[in-house]
Amino acid sequence: MVLLSDVFAQALNGLAYGVLLFLLSVGLTLIFGMLDIVNLAHGSFYMLGAYAGLVTMALTGNYWLAMLVAPLAVGVVGALMERVCLRPLYRGSPLDQVLLTFGFIYLFEDLVKWIWGGKIRSIPPPEVFAGSVKLLGVTVPSYRLFMIAFGLVMAVALWLLIERTRLGALIRAGVFDAEMAAGMGVNIDRVFTGVFAFGAALGGLSGVIAGPIQSASPPMGAGILIPALIVVVVGGLGSLKGSLVGSLIIGQAETFGKAWLPGSSMVIIYVVMALVVLLRPQGLFGRALK
């Protein structure tokens, strides 16, 4: 007999994980859609964000400041990476991009291990959300509720940014057809760097947000990469809506799988992805394939 309160508790956990995946996959999907690059080092931005958060917390003890500093720092790293290393590769073979971004996974992971050691650390949640609340008979850590609320606010904000502002129009133009946008007088180089840095910053932000529930360690970046890629493929490359819906689906699939099918929990998200690719190759909200 499955208790309704159990279902509710799992659904909230899944939602919190989904929010995390959303913040991470938005950047990945935009970079993918616009730059045509599978950035394997995107998970590393998540890890760098968590460590930038740890440092800020160690220095100031202020979680909100960490939420501000981490995305900025990781955004700068992303901008540098795009300018120096990725720019020469846009017209090259995709395999070069694979090798390069794979190299960055190793580089970032080992740098972090070098500086902070390989220990698992956790970021304490902000004091306001350190406790827990009772919701429909279930005790929920209030930090999780904050995460969910924050993620949904971010989703709306990103939607407004991309669909309703001039900057968003530039980004959409770049995703749709970068060459044409350049032909219309858009400084596409700057948009590329901007989008890459923005995606990296969101990845960094998700690292800080994850800190209090998932703790930080150097391999965390490589660990989250695959789920994030799965979200992007399930949702559809380059689609904001797709990455939101994909994240929520994968978040729930993973959480409920762990709770109810412990013997085969690890397979579930791959089965979901394989089904989507086989039945609807462009992803749930992707443009039809040419």
Binding site: Y106, W114, M266, P281
Partner: protein, 307 residues
């Protein structure tokens, strides 16, 4: 031509006689290089010739390794060591290939990844495959008059099998079949229009690549006497992919060089410093920026900053 044959002959001789020339550790490294080299070359057949970048080649490496491990524990003979792993991986490759080859690009990458991760998850969570510890205590096969438990005999056995795999791959890419594959890589639509059954060609290539990867997996089990779920994990596919790219895609023997470079770099650097990941990562980055054609490209003289 004669000089080239002579060179290859000397190289084969040195590789075969290596246990007489070096200690146990270098021999083990060489054996690892040979096995990973075969694995990477089987991936290069898909990537470099048929244009199918697979991120799930570890599925076949793992299946070969696990089938060999389980079968050898039952009856340690050549049937268990070579035939069964090859047959089972071929069947798996037909099934996975049938589902995957219709897609291309990123979707092909992700779908093959998904299949290999399913095997990983299954092996990791099921007791009859030893769960996370894998299968250990695997005996080497017994051959008439040859005791493969002895390291010299095993080395020769390994070199012969690797040589055979190399020969098969070399024949495949040089055959008319191989030329059709290259045509598909360059322009799939045109090959289809000309009348080639493109999907069937891709499937056959996928199965050949899978079988040879399975053989590599089986040899890997026989070398280490154990196999763990990590054989299926996506990093195994990733490392093979890196070896192919480092060596130079579409060159076949480049993958062997790539495997050698990767394994030597990893073991050399890690014996001097803990920071081998950092150095490996930097090497990849510099490689892409300054030697885009891989080792083979660099040997052929295309070194320099890309335009």
């Amino acid at each position: 031509m004669i000089a080239r044959l002579l060179g290859v002959g000397v190289l084969v001789g040195v590789v075969a006689a290596f246990p007489a020339l070096a200690g146990a550790y270098p021999v083990k490294l060489l054996q690892e290089i040979l096995i990973w080299g075969v694995f990477a070359m089987s991936l290069d057949l898909l990537m470099g010739y048929a244009g199918m970048v697979s991120f799930g080649h570890s599925a076949f490496f793992g299946i070969g390794g696990y089938v060999a491990a389980l079968a050898l524990k039952e009856t340690p003979n050549l049937l268990s060591a070579l035939v069964l792993p090859a047959v089972v991986t071929a069947v798996a490759a037909v099934a996975i290939g049938f589902c995957s080859i219709r897609t291309s690009g990123v979707y092909f990458i992700m779908l093959t990844l998904a299949f290999s991760q399913m095997f990983y998850a299954y092996a990791f969570q099921n007791a009859w495959l030893g769960a996370e510890d894998g299968v250990f205590g695997v005996p080497r096969p017994r051959l008439i008059g040859l005791d493969l438990a002895k390291s010299t005999a095993f080395h020769l056995y390994l070199v012969i099998l690797v040589g055979l795999a190399l020969l098969v791959l070399w024949r495949v890419v040089r055959s008319p079949f191989g030329h059709v594959l290259r045509g598909i890589r360059e322009n799939e639509g045109r090959m289809e229009a000309v009348g080639y059954p493109v999907q069937r060609y891709k499937l056959v290539a996928f199965v050949i690549g899978g079988m040879i990867a399975g053989l590599a997996g089986s040899l890997y089990t026989q070398l280490n006497l154990t196999i763990t779920p990590d054989a299926f994990f996506w990093t195994t596919s990733g490392e093979a992919l890196l070896m192919v790219i480092i060596g130079g895609t579409g060159t076949l023997w480049g993958s062997l060089l790539g495997a050698a470079a990767f394994i030597l770099l990893q073991s050399l650097v890690s014996s001097y410093t803990e920071r081998w990941m950092l150095i490996l990562g930097l090497t990849f980055i510099l490689f892409v920026l300054f030697a885009p054609g891989g080792i083979v490209g660099a040997l052929r003289g295309h070194v320099g900053r890309r335009a």
